[in-house]
Amino acid sequence: MYEKLVLVQEFISQPWPWWMGAVVIGSTVFILLYFDKEFGLSANLRIMCAADGAGDYADFFDFDWTKQGWNLMIALGALFGAYMAANYFGGDYQAHISQATVETLNEIAGSEALTYGNVPIVPGKDVVHAEVPEFWEIYSWKSLFTLRGLIIIVVGGFLIGFGARYAGGCTSGHAISGLADLQLPSLVAVMGFFIGGLIMTWLLLPHILRIGF
């Protein structure tokens, strides 16, 4: 019995192919629609602001957030799911990115720190059971106290929170729920995501990553 469980664990621990996205995202959307809800995770930021009393400062947060507690439960569930995936089904803890991407990343770092087939899934060694070169040690408290880490974590978070509400949704609300509902505004928002993403990745990120290195 135990041996069979180990086999199941090993099976799940393999890297998942891209088409599993259809299963994961499709089933999430189906279940939420069935329970008369809509998938959109960034709404949780607004809910958490409202729950902290932000309604006293702006009407935008003056709504009955308790009716949207289900969305917070999704975020809470995602937290547990990630804990299980990262700690018990992590597999080789690699991001199986292309050779071309490895080369581009090494060019930015100015070193050969990453090699094809040996890239940590997340740039931070707290959880990943794989080697993380110093240059790519970003998701950590130590990194937060450097200018580079401060920009990536604090400014990045601010842009996500501000932009998601300004655009009225994020990757789940617009790129999944909105596009699936054939909403033209969502398509425009996704185009915006890509405009911003391309500007950041190509023009700004290489310079930000090199701060202090």
Binding site: W16, W18, W19, M20, G21, V24, I25, G26, V29, I31, L33, F35, D36, L41, L45, R46, D52, F60, I74, G77, L79, F80, G81, A82, A85, A95, T101, T104, L105, V119, I121, P123, G124, D126, S140, S143, I153, V155, G161, F162, G163, A164, R165, Y166, A167, C170, T171, A175, L179, L182, Q183, V188, V190, M191, G192, F194, G196, L198, T201, L204
Partner: protein, 137 residues
């Protein structure tokens, strides 16, 4: 117990996003460099499946648990907010390599520094709430 099912949905979503490497900043970087199909495969296959499901609900072929048709709200057709807000969001997405759902995933995986990211994202949302009346929508 009503909320338990949402925890289960979130559990599979968070689990899946980690295993699909959608939480990987390197995958996001690769996507914006058009160097692999992987992320596009996840998004396109996810959206196509969701599209079929959503349209079945829209046409009333599938009803909600209450036995009634799901009501959908059309999004406002005012464009500046989607372009400007979307661009700001996209910049944040590429900078940290994390979007608003994935911050919960990374926090759960054990990257505790993401409480700072989460607090910062809440601050961003709060500042939007304060300033929205002056912003072009």
């Amino acid at each position: 117990m009503k909320s338990f099912k949402y925890i289960v949905v979130g559990f599979f979503f968070g689990f899946g996003m980690w295993k699909l490497e959608a939480i990987s900043t390197f995958r996001i970087f690769e996507m914006f460099h058009f160097q692999s199909f992987h992320m596009y495969g996840i998004i396109i296959s996810g959206v196509l499946t969701s599209l079929i499901i959503t349209q079945l609900f829209r046409k009333g072929k599938i009803k909600t648990i209450k036995g009634i048709e799901k009501q959908f709200n059309d999004k406002d057709r005012t464009w500046p907010r989607y372009i400007i807000g979307g661009t700001i969001f996209g910049m944040g997405w590429a900078l940290t390599g994390v979007c608003s759902g994935m911050m919960f995933v990374l926090l759960g995986a054990g990257y505790t520094v993401f409480v700072v990211f989460l607090a910062s994202a809440m601050l961003g949302t709060f500042v939007y709430g304060l300033t929205r009346r002056w912003l072009p929508h």
